[in-house]
Symmetry: C2
Subunit: 159 residues, 2 copies
């Protein structure tokens, strides 16, 4: 069984997230926490507007989109959430409870079912990429890669 198929221990992840925020001198308020919970419970990345809907379903409380965007900004800053630039969607970081230093994330986005797998691409490939770019004088800001394709599961299914 691959780790990605294992049920998440949301309580543990939230606890760890609290610690991360406290260490950074930031506050994981109830609403920020709930937004994170919505993302943790989702099988796919969500748009800010989808988060509003699910928040309402889960917590019986309406949250303005504007607030969701701000909470997402906060969670991204604390590296608890990633933004997928290619689709304008947000997902919880798959490695919140990992102790190791987080590398720049790389994503495999399934264009059929919308699922996303967060992977760690070998650092030497990224290094080689950077070397191949160096000659242009360009300095990379962030190396987040978003690769689109079809996931294993959807390849097996007839369509």
């Amino acid at each position: 069984m691959k780790s990605s198929d294992m049920p998440l221990d949301i309580d543990q992840i939230i606890k760890k997230s609290q610690e991360v925020c406290t260490l950074a001198g930031a506050k994981l308020t109830d609403k920020r926490k709930n937004v994170l919970i919505v993302l943790l419970a989702a099988a796919t990345p969500l748009s800010a507007y989808e988060i509003v809907e699910r928040y309402k379903t889960h917590f019986h409380e309406a949250l303005p989109v504007m607030s969701v965007y701000r909470m997402l900004d906060f969670l991204i800053q604390e590296k608890l959430v990633h933004k997928l630039e290619t689709s304008g969607q947000y997902m919880s970081c798959a490695h919140i409870t990992c102790e190791h230093q987080h590398e720049t994330p790389q994503f495999l986005i399934c264009d059929r079912c919308g699922s996303v797998k967060e992977i760690g691409i070998k650092q030497h490939i990224i290094a080689e990429l950077e070397r191949s770019i160096q000659s242009t004088g360009f300095t990379l800001a962030h190396q987040q890669l978003e690769l689109h394709g079809i996931c294993e599961h959807c390849q097996i299914k007839p369509q």
Copy 2:
């Protein structure tokens, strides 16, 4: 002098574009051609709405956004134009007049000035990327990479 600093021979690129379309059994209509000209004349990628504005300035004719999107779809299909997924902008292909088979494009996007450089990343790096992804069962649809950072020119400037 690097080729990217050289003035484009727009006439020649348009002529070649006509050929590409004819070969594919498609028609590069006047309006499609004009949209391409707008992109060729731009220093940075443009959004569909910016294209509408410039089209009006250049050709004294109002074009509905809807039509621009369709023309962009056409030009992208003919590989004369690329879409930057991370910014929702469009730019002409830098290699229209090249005879060689076009590889999947890779882009260096300057987050300061918005300029974009279309580069060819060594094929073996892409191959290695694919290999590193293969174990996940994922099949890449397109390997277009959009890398954000600061371009050479903006690094030299004070801010």
